[in-house]
């Protein structure tokens, strides 16, 4: 294996979070972006072809080793932890924020027909959404958007990878 490819593999391995090409480049100063990218692609292919327990995936603007999704039940048994789940209310609020960001609370309340305070707080605490600014209208309400951690948790490369909202097209929004 070429040395820089081995270094990339090791970096991806020691990092608990996705690693961007930019960050790899900061370490591998003399290796070009294209070479880094193609080494990452090769690693992704190798791990894919092996059909082992680990995959290299592109997520949240970077790359991360993750276990294969078919092994989830075994790993739950191994780790002995119950995964933290989001309530239905929090999931709905998260969906509204994800598709309509940047969005203010009053708009979320209107769409869901209920007050979203509790779910907003829990999503903020879990770092799935973040405060992205204020809207330039009287009262300057806070605007919410999804975080990078959201992409990480939902295995999305970026926001364009969100599943499409069929119904919204009908509404002509």
């Amino acid at each position: 294996m070429e040395q820089y490819k081995a270094i990339i593999e090791a970096m991806l391995f020691v990092s608990g979070t996705p690693v961007t090409i930019k960050r790899m480049k900061e370490v591998l100063e003399e290796t070009g972006d294209m070479d880094i990218r193609s080494a990452v692609d090769e690693l992704m292919r190798e791990y894919g072809e092996r059909k082992g327990g680990v995959r290299l995936v592109e997520v949240a603007g970077g790359f991360q080793f993750r276990t294969d999704e078919t092994l989830a039940s075994w790993l739950k048994k191994f780790a002995g932890v119950k995964p933290a789940t989001l309530s239905q209310a929090a999931m709905e609020t998260l969906a509204v924020v994800a598709y309509r960001q940047p969005i203010m609370k009053s708009e979320i309340d209107r769409i869901r027909g209920v007050d979203a305070s509790t779910s907003l707080r829990s999503l903020l605490e879990r770092n799935l959404i973040r405060i992205v600014g204020r809207k330039d209208v009287p009262g300057r309400p806070i605007l919410y958007g999804t975080s990078r951690h959201f992409l990480e948790v939902f295995s999305l490369r970026d926001l364009t990878e969100l599943p499409t909202l069929e119904e919204l097209k009908e509404l002509g929004e």
Binding site: A84, N127, L162, E166, E170
Partner: protein, 241 residues
């Protein structure tokens, strides 16, 4: 009563009045674009009454939608517009639009839940402590605005610094202007009051500029001089070399 218990169980799973309404539409196999308002209102009211009788902590939103339904129902009872008159809007239109929008996001939430969730379907590596940290500071956290304000709230509320509670946008505007003026004073030897006001822009900004100058004087960060009465007012950084 057995029936009430049944209601109670179901009520707990509704995410709000729109969710309840969607449930009734589905249960009755109704076309969402042509809702029989009388029937749905009746059933909706039955659920709301059940909630009340069980003293469930019912959100006010359920009652708001109840009155909307009654209102639509009464409007539907009015005779249709005469021939030749302008076509009136169906009183149900707004509600249908709202329902469709909510339904879209409810489905979107389901779709999100079907993605490969980290910690549920896929797992990353549990990086041992200290493996890649270079020592020194132990606990690291990702930086975000919410974390910042939450940390501040915990500090002053939980540790009982009541006198520090208030923070408002005005205070932050002032801090912003103070920092801008000090930046400028770092670059120039002095600033005239006219310079500051001239660049100020909008009315609120003029007020904040004035307040910022007063605050800077109080903090003794600037010294303000005027050579003759009604003459040019000059600001100097107090800590200047």
């Amino acid at each position: 009563m057995a029936e009430s218990v049944d209601y109670a169980v179901k009520l707990n799973v509704f995410e709000g009045p729109l969710d309840l309404l969607l449930f009734l539409i589905k249960k009755n196999e109704i076309d969402i674009y042509d809702i029989p308002i009388a029937l749905i209102t009746e059933q909706y009211m039955a659920y709301v009454e059940a909630m009340k009788s069980l003293n469930l902590d019912m959100a006010g939103e359920y009652l708001v939608l109840a009155s909307t339904l009654v209102h639509i129902k009464s409007k539907m009872l009015l005779p249709p517009a005469e021939e030749g008159e302008e076509q009136e809007e169906d009183p149900r239109d707004e509600l249908v639009r709202q329902l469709l929008e909510y339904k879209a996001y409810k489905e979107a939430a389901l779709n999100l839940g079907m993605l490969h969730l980290l910690g549920r379907d896929v797992f990353g590596r549990d990086v041992p402590h200290g493996e890649i940290t270079d020592g020194g500071e132990t606990e690291f956290r990702e930086i975000g605005i919410f974390e910042l304000v939450e940390v501040f709230r915990k500090l002053i509320v939980d540790r009982g610094h009541d006198e520090l509670m208030e923070i408002d946008v005005e205070k932050m505007s002032l801090a912003d202007r103070i920092s801008e003026i000090m930046d400028e004073l770092n670059e120039k030897k002095f600033l005239t009051f006219e310079d500051l006001m001239g660049e100020a822009g909008g009315r609120t900004r003029v007020i904040y500029t004035f307040l910022a100058v007063l605050e800077l004087m109080k903090l003794r960060l600037v010294r303000v001089y005027q050579s003759v009465p009604y003459g040019t007012i000059r600001l100097f950084a107090a800590a200047g070399e």
